[in-house]
Symmetry: D2
Subunit: 301 residues, 4 copies
């Protein structure tokens, strides 16, 4: 048995970090970008805490850099840094950038339906301090999980969504979300999201698909996996685009299965993979570790 001294797991945190900011830089690769960013941050007294970069072709390909830096009087200096980056990176290098104070957690809305395994896993990790986000609300087309969600101290909104016309439901969604969230997570939300909604809501949407995409696209992936006799089943977290199940993949994982497992067994086994994959995707997104580029992602995990 175990003898470890008592340590409360609740003290282990990936909480938002004070005095830290993330800088994401993206654009055409050219000589000197890393040096220019380094020099600029250095001039403001910032200390680089971590730096990841990737170029898909050093001869003028696409360049990506994630830098986390610390600075004691961060909030006071951030506008000046932003101004300098604007001048130096946008003007001299034609690069895009995003600068974000990491002490301000991203605000997320979680959409769910009846299946609660992904939803509860996110709420549970959030309560343990493992997800550096503010969960603004949970929206579901079923009332079943209301009590449990509210037990976590999170607002729950029941928005029914029957039939093929989603416009009423989506209008209600937009009313709830506008101005209140920085991204959305579909935690096994079993309703189609319209292109209109994606455009109007204007924030990234992360979905968990219950298969190893692009295998078993669409409905009923576990039944299809059983039918095809595969030896591994998986799950995929991806950004939602208008093309169903075709958005940029953030994370995937699989688990081994055998002939002896029924489609229901696969679904049960898959649920564990789904919640693990989704929680990793949400954690990485909330820490600015995922950069979208065309239909791909650069993940500095």
């Amino acid at each position: 048995m175990t003898l470890t001294q008592e340590t409360s797991a609740r003290t282990i945190t990936r909480k938002p970090v004070p005095h830290h900011a993330s800088l994401i830089v993206k654009g055409k690769d050219r000589t000197g970008i890393v040096a220019a960013v380094g020099a600029l941050l250095s001039r403001h007294g910032a200390n680089i805490v971590s730096l990841d970069q990737y170029s898909d072709n050093p001869q003028g390909g696409a360049f990506f850099q994630r830098t986390v830096f610390s600075l004691d009087n961060l909030q006071a200096v951030l506008p000046a840094i932003e101004h300098d980056l604007q001048e130096r990176l946008r003007a001299d290098f034609e690069l895009e950038f995003t600068l974000r104070d990491l002490s301000v957690p991203k605000r997320v809305a979680i959409f769910a339906s009846k299946s609660d395994h992904c939803l509860l896993d996110l709420l549970w990790r959030h309560r343990r301090g493992q997800l550096p986000v503010n969960v603004s609300m949970v929206i579901s087309n079923h009332p079943d999980t209301a009590e449990e969600v509210r037990g976590f101290g999170i607002p729950f909104f029941h928005v029914p969504s029957m039939g093929p016309d989603k416009s009423a439901a989506e209008a209600e969604h937009l009313r709830l979300l506008r101005g209140n969230v920085d991204f959305i997570v579909l935690a096994r939300y079993m309703q189609i999201i319209s292109g209109d909604f994606i455009e109007q809501v204007g924030v990234p949407i992360i979905n968990i698909h219950h298969s190893f995409l692009p295998a078993f696209i669409g409905a009923g992936p576990y039944a299809k996996a059983k039918e095809r006799g595969v030896k591994l089943i998986g799950a995929t977290a991806h950004y939602v685009t208008e093309d169903l199940d075709e958005g940029p993949i953030i994370e995937q994982d699989v688990v081994r299965v055998t002939h002896a497992e029924t489609a229901a067994d696969l679904q049960r086994r898959g649920a564990d993979v789904e919640r693990a994959v989704l929680s990793r995707a949400v954690e990485w997104h909330s820490q600015d570790r995922v950069i979208r580029h065309g239909n791909h992602t650069i993940v500095f995990a």
Copy 2:
């Protein structure tokens, strides 16, 4: 996003199965055991649903067999089958056996301390119908999880256990447990269990150790893993014996880590492995899939 038709995850079950029984046979390997068991069950009209066997040496080594069979009037016939097995297996083959009606779930007590990830994962899987057990009670040396546990409809008992002398606490444990449970799970219970208690309680005890045993035996395994610079960390579920961390291993798993992760990160990552490994061990034990043999286990998973 996903389009699967609504299916409630709560309908997927590993519930106790009606009309099914498990038969575990154990002893010295001899020619004809499988045939004898098959013939005996067949005579009673039983249909073999699954059969696993293992012999560590066909020439007189140790033999193990797990058979699950179905029979419409199971409860009526079980005593007659038991009687026949007694005569045939014990008398002719000198084998030990255990016969169990699988429609009667095993009763379990879960011991926990402050860390709640293993405890909550078990309760959550139980509620989803994934663990074919009755959770009789949760016992903790801390009151922190009382409300949450009771929210699952499970009795919670707070039994403080301070200082080196565990006799008062263990006496209280025995009062609560006696006659009420078929096995015990230590879900990150951070107190020493005495040899006396193990003997007196008389039911199997499953512990989750937060390392890949036999590496990092004892206290503080994640700190030790960080110190040694390992590239994988793991967890081990095992039966508790008087020898600390030395009991028969039921299940193990690992996850990859890097130099960049702190001991606290390892603990956080390890928590996911711990709950996965422990839930598999509990599921297998509750389905009679684990056979102890000396300091080893045969696992027909």
Copy 3:
């Protein structure tokens, strides 16, 4: 460093086993099959060494059983056992069965092209005694690997196969193979196999596909995987049928990749998965551990 006493790895073997036979039984599930097989083998003095069974539905579903038994005078008694099985299983239970003396290794022909990683891995494992087969010959549409293959003491035949008409090449293949092999392995053989050839050659054909089927069916899977931005790449060993990449899957595995890996990197990483997956499939097939059923496999690994 290591201090292990010298042990030659070449002494570790999965060589064909003397006095052992495998019995594969397949058909409609009915009460009493396991018992009948057990009793029959017992009557002939056979000792069951391992037994695996699976039923996809105990109420009249499909039933599969693999039994390995030992018997001192196996070759003398095998015909009598076969006769009894014929009567008992075919007549009473309407089951199909296959009985095979495991001391006689299956004979295999390996087809290859320019890529040599799967071919060499098989030959290397075979030399170490890890594959219980006789490699009758290697056939390639390129002469490149001739010297290396012959260095293993294996006959090598170069059969060019240019253009869309494969009939001349396939006629030559049939001349070489007929009567000489029990199964064929396509070890990254980059030519289409015609339905005619599959029918005429009359032995199972195992192929390794360089993706996690059904994802990335067809040509260029690593380029497609890079294009789709997946986070895992895989390989699939399957039986060849007339439907390209659609045959029964035997084994699959995957490996994690990142955005930073090029399509060429994926191909290089994938090569390790391919050879591992193919060698497992060949080992299991040669030990009668894989049972085909419709477009699926039952794998008693």
Copy 4:
């Protein structure tokens, strides 16, 4: 089956790259290091191709950075860069650094005994262009693999090493190695290496240990793993130090096993893990991706 157009796997390479250099920087963390390195390289017209850095504590902890940069006239400019680094990093920041032209592959000697799986895997990967090294020689205390090694075009030296006194053998080793190699790989070399030898040879030595260290230190790890009943077995590549099996770990991996596998099976399964783990460690070391720090490694893989 597969339809991919013919591509020779031999064209996929991790060959030494022309015009590229690696710069490893190591020392006490201070504000401005990344910027200073970037500015310095930029001044010489170098383009940063990849950059990884890690600090175990931004407040004065240990700092590590690996930078790969490209420069058309690299060989001409390298001395000037080195001179500037000397001044800027050593003088201003008190950092150590190593600068290396990546077009010059590291020279390696491989030590082996009778077991050939790790040796052959390295030679085979090297021939495929997957290891950016020059294999200068293979040294073995057994003559068995001489012909095979020479078939790869690599010099083979048989240096017997019987009895406890290794001084004669080690003297011969030193004569062969001195001035000829940049690092040594013990590919299942079953002899003790003395502290004297480690000191005198003066280059890093990588060993593959056939267990998941620190579990099963010392001789006979697979027998010990079987005895302890573990459910996973592994392998560990580490740098050799005077303390047996205690050196800095470079890479580890594991594979799942069951009760049914004998110690010989574990050894056979483990061989696959050993060769995979060792080849990754050798690849990373040869690309300057592994930085030693005390008894740990920073691996920028």
